[in-house]
Amino acid sequence: MLKQFQSGGGGQLLDRSEGPVMAFHEFYRDDFRPREHYLPMWEHIQRAGQQSLASKARDAQLALHNEGVTFTLYADEEAGVERVWPFDILPRIITAHEWAQIEAGLKQRIRALNLFLKDIYHGQRILKDGVVPPELIYRGKDLCREIMDIDPPHDIYIHISGVDLIRDEEGRYLVLEDNLRTPSGVSYMIENRIIERRILPEFFSSYRVRRVEHYPDLLLQALRYLSPRGPADAVVVVLTPGVFNSAYFEHSFLAREMGVELAEGRDLVCRNDKVYLKTTLGLRQVDVVYRRVDDEYLDPLVFRADSVLGVAGLINAWRAGNVALVNAPGTGIADDKAVYAYVPEIIRYYLGETPILPSVPTYQMTDHQDRAYVLDNMERMVIKSVAESGGYGMLMGPASTPAQRADFAQRINADPRNYIAQPVIQISRHICYLDGELESRHLDFRPFCIHGSEIDVVPGGLTRVAMTKGSLVVNSSQGGGSKDTWVLAD
């Protein structure tokens, strides 16, 4: 246990032994005055009055509805029904100084995790050197044996990532999760900005806000860079599981914004280890597949044989070097929540650098001492299934019932490798305009990185908001809302 805490990197966390601590408020200082970078916005609200916010909130809802900005909840009673994207009009503001640390920390993390993946799927030096336990990797559900020894174009595995950050009680940014498979949310980041510019033009005139709308251009440039036939005439497609996927809006949005084809598995075919798009003019060779289909459904010849979402022969085409897959299959082992605890060591091992962004302390359930401690303190822990995301497979200790805790204890004992635990962190709060009132809600932050010829971190991201008062669950798939995120220029 202690080893994990010490390896957390980037400074010590708060001592919780003296009782609960207050969440950091991003908008207010301790004397309940707005922080300096929020003052222009606050003064504007005071001048215009809250009535004007009500009208702008209505306009925002209408615009989102008219433009079809939607999200599908699987866990909802009306599962599968698209809902208008929940959006709060008051932006979160990140100063240039804060952003510089976030940007550097994310670039460092992606560089290290990319080297980790290259190593795990080739020589496994980090396992031989005992930095990461081999048992941890070989017990991981997301180790993709089918791609061992395959060389992806330019040795890049993680092209697109959306690393979740939170701010702890002292306001420090911590990495909560690395989302390295097919992270979603970037289209909402852009739509939030488009709406915000339209309904709050006066706010923008008070700030120098950096742009995020060029994300599709950056993405397309990175995708073309990966093309085995060169970037000039690269044919790129976005591969979607189809209209029933919760992120279908995003898939179609990105394809449209990049000006590339949106394809389903049945639209593609492999021949002689090359991938082709079926068009009315015949087969057209594809160079880059930005796939939003999970690994296990990607190629029925290699992964799940019953998948109808993927393309038979895709992995062989990738192995032959005739197509780039974005992200590469197999990235899941690097964002496995049990491997997450080792990321600070991974950074030190491959880069010889101190982690810029600290991680949240993590208890490994495979460690007897950790497990005993967690089982005795479940009401103070967040327990997560290592291979799930979106808030699924998670127990939020303080809000759990004895029956839920007993159920999780049983699951942990049955399969310790499948769970980790973290102390509950009172993630930061921000004011939101909800039902005519200014209320504080907890939130997190998902900035997006693109790894092409270099790593770009788009200055902004998706701020996710827990819509229920006091709740720490911000996941969109669990009913969370969102805010526009403004990164200020120097």
Binding site: Q124, K128, P300, A312, N316
Partner: protein, 297 residues
């Protein structure tokens, strides 16, 4: 010994299939214990198979027939020279240091962890006893080779080998109920046991000398020769000896009459054929023949 192997597969569809992708594992290994002298693959409708190695070192071939077809066949012709005449012939490691030897190999080659940690339906964590028979316990200081041999004999107290059965169980507990099973079932049982000792063990599919399929005495109308088929056994990492084959079905150690084709954590890793096609065919007829003949000793 030198062998000639012929393997032919043919599938027929009730309704034409199209966009038909196949991946096959038919070709024997080429390593220290056996040499692949020559191999030829042929597919009808005509297409060129592409070779690739998987993470376990198996050679697979893939090919596709995109146009509509009612029949597809493929065949392999190969010659293999085997060398392991005596599986006991190696420099043994002192029994007291065998586990240290294994630990060292695991540090050098982390991929070996797959052959200890994997516990699926076919190689589950075994209960302490099966049908009242306690599981053999590993004794440090006793040669591992001997302990695995004893374990191989023990598997036969749990279930008999049924040469007439060509369908393996989908989960090992079904073997405990049936009390008899295929060569693959018995190999999985041995692997599950050896992994409980924290010793790497893997599943093997391959070809064996045709003599093993002969019925006793001269074939008659009443007892025609058994059709040859792919065989399965287990390999255990023996200190000093490397991967040594143990065949619980025939109660033998694998020698020069065994030809390895594919290895994996269990049988699911090394299916001889994986395919995916489009079309409405409800019925697929599948015929397969195998012939292994010894060319020279």
């Amino acid at each position: 010994m030198k062998y000639h192997i012929e393997r032919d597969c043919r599938m027929r569809f009730s309704v034409p299939a199209r966009e038909h992708h196949l991946q096959i594992r038919l070709v024997p290994w080429h390593d220290d214990s056996q040499s692949l002298i020559r191999v030829a693959l042929r597919v009808e409708p005509d297409t060129t198979p592409v070779a690739a190695f998987d993470c376990f070192g198996n050679l697979s071939h893939h090919f596709a027939v995109l146009g509509a077809h009612e029949e597809l066949s493929f065949s392999m012709r190969a010659e293999v020279q085997t060398r392991r005449d005596n599986p006991f012939e190696f420099e043994p490691v002192e029994p007291a240091r065998e586990m240290e030897w294994i630990a060292h190999r695991l540090r050098q080659t982390p991929r070996l962890w797959d052959f200890i940690l994997h516990h699926g339906d076919l190689t589950p964590t075994l209960p302490a006893e099966i049908h009242g028979h306690s599981l053999p316990v590993f004794h440090e200081g006793t040669p591992l080779l001997r302990q695995v041999q004893d374990a191989m004999h023990w598997t036969r107290t749990i279930a008999d080998y049924d040469a007439s059965c060509d369908t393996s169980v989908t989960a090992l507990p079904a073997l405990f109920e049936a009390r008899k099973g295929t060569a693959g079932d018995l190999a999985h049982l041995l692997i599950a046991l050896v992994r409980k000792w924290q010793v790497p063990a893997r599943f093997v599919s391959g070809y064996i000398d045709a003599a093993y399929f002969d019925v006793d005495g001269e074939p008659t109308g009443e007892h025609p020769p058994c059709p040859q088929s792919i065989h399965h056994w287990a390999e255990v990492l023996i200190p000093g000896g490397g991967w040594v084959g143990f065949d619980p079905a025939l109660d033998l150690l694998a020698d020069a009459t065994y030809m390895r084709v594919a290895v994996g954590r269990d049988g699911k890793d090394i299916q001889a054929l994986r395919q995916n096609c489009k079309g409405q065919a409800a019925d697929i007829e599948f015929d397969e023949t195998l012939s292994v003949s010894r060319i020279s000793a």
